[in-house]
Amino acid sequence: MSIGKKDILKNIGLTIYRGELFALMGPSGAGKTTLLRILNLFDDPASGDLMFGGMLLNNSTFGEKNNIRRRMSMLFQTPAVFNTSVFDNVAYGLKIRKADKDTIEKKVGNALSIVGLAGKEKQKALTLSGGEAQRMAFARAIVYDPDVLLLDEPTANLDPANVAKIEEIIKRIRSEHGTTIVIATHNIYQVKRIADRVGILLNGELIEVNSKEGIFSSPLDARSSAFINGEMIY
């Protein structure tokens, strides 16, 4: 995917490669969520080109964008939970794709097993704890095998045990399904643990895109180094 410019994002030139785990790192308010929303085709860039799989999406209709969006999934920092059972929440993406009943049962069971919520199918989703709700949202996001998974600070509100579980799930999905994953986070340690490549976003500007090793051992931009070393740059 290539991004041009957007008012609150400047000089964004970025390509995400198939199957990689790309971490978008930066402090709060840097524009990470805005960039993810553009990648998920929620918002249009004010100028520049936006491409998916070689297809230019600048003048796409809502329906065309929706068809592309059906190949993606996005997970928010705070999951939105439908007022139904855990099963119905997770099955939602399959139901709107008109999957048959057997497929739905099988895939929902598998997704819930991956996120460690097997056996909670009938539970009211609104009664889940915060960590469980996020894992259920994760199951809902992966149940239809999206090509691209966009994660907006998925562990920001979770305790260390749930953070570890979510990271394990991310790694498993990527290795088993080859899903392209973009994760927005301000957690440097998380990036070290799971990412392939890293982009650092500061004040709406993508100041550096580098391999994980490159970013942490020999950053190209002095501001990257300052951010990684915990200096406040806003």
Partner: protein, 244 residues
């Protein structure tokens, strides 16, 4: 006779009329349910799609329409009755329909009164659904219709409340239906219709006429039936919501 005596007599009479399946009371109750029920169903069929259109579509005049809906929630029933009356009297623009003093005219009046109420409350219920729910539908590949269906499901309790509020308003309404319905009950057997049966007389309009005749205990009895009816509807809705 003191007021308390009237009240006790009214309660006893209410039981007598209900248990004895009094034909006059049954026909009045039947007209009330038929008129208010039909008006509420028609209003809900208009109001709920309208509330969704006002929530999901961005069209010219949307804000004006929302203002009109909010204003309509407080429409004075007697004014609505007067307006419908002027339209439907034989000399009026819609006089050829010959609907004045019919249950149909009462349905129209209550439809006008109830539609803004159901629309307004449904609109508030839909707006209370977090934007993140709708965004999640889209992130999972849903289309606009999917977002509408999920919103309907999430706002269901509020929408049921809206319909109940509309039905409550319709059942309790008296000013408009008195003007356009005429509070007609047959005092003799006319054209095969049984004696003492209601044509356009409802529980509320009957209370006004019984009170003006000085039959306070019958009025209280009818009032108790009216309140019981409202209570039953609410209990039923409560049951449905709890089951869900």
């Amino acid at each position: 006779m003191s007021s308390v005596d009237f009240l006790f007599e009214g309660i006893i009479k209410a039981f007598d009329l209900i248990i004895g399946l009094d034909p006059y009371v049954l026909s009045i109750t039947g007209v009330s349910i038929r008129v208010s029920g039909t008006a509420t169903i028609l209003a809900a069929l208009t109001a709920i799609p309208l509330a969704f259109a006002l929530s999901f579509l961005d069209f010219r005049g949307r804000q004006v329409l929302i203002t009109l809906v909010n204003t309509g929630m407080g429409l004075p029933p007697v004014f609505v009755g007067l307006f419908i009356f002027v339209m439907l009297v034989p000399a009026g623009p819609l006089g050829f329909l010959r609907m004045i003093f019919t249950p149909e005219a009462m349905i129209i009046a209550q439809y006008i009164l109830v539609t803004p109420i159901i629309t307004g409350i449904s609109l508030a219920a839909i707006k209370a659904v977090p934007g993140s729910i709708i965004e999640t539908v889209y992130t999972l590949g849903g289309r606009e219709m999917d977002a509408i269906i999920v919103t309907l499901r999430e706002a269901k309790s509020g929408i049921i409340t809206a319909i109940l509020a509309g039905l409550g308003r319709a059942l309790a309404e008296v000013g408009a239906i008195l003007i356009v319905g005429g509070n007609i009950a047959y005092t003799g057997s006319i054209g095969g219709i049984g004696e003492g049966l209601s044509y356009t007389r409802t529980l509320t309009t009957a209370i006004t006429s019984e009170t003006s005749k000085g039959d306070i205990s019958t009025s209280i009895a009818l009032g108790i039936i009216l309140i019981s009816l409202n209570l039953s509807v609410n209990l039923l809705a409560n049951l449905i919501q709890r089951r869900d």
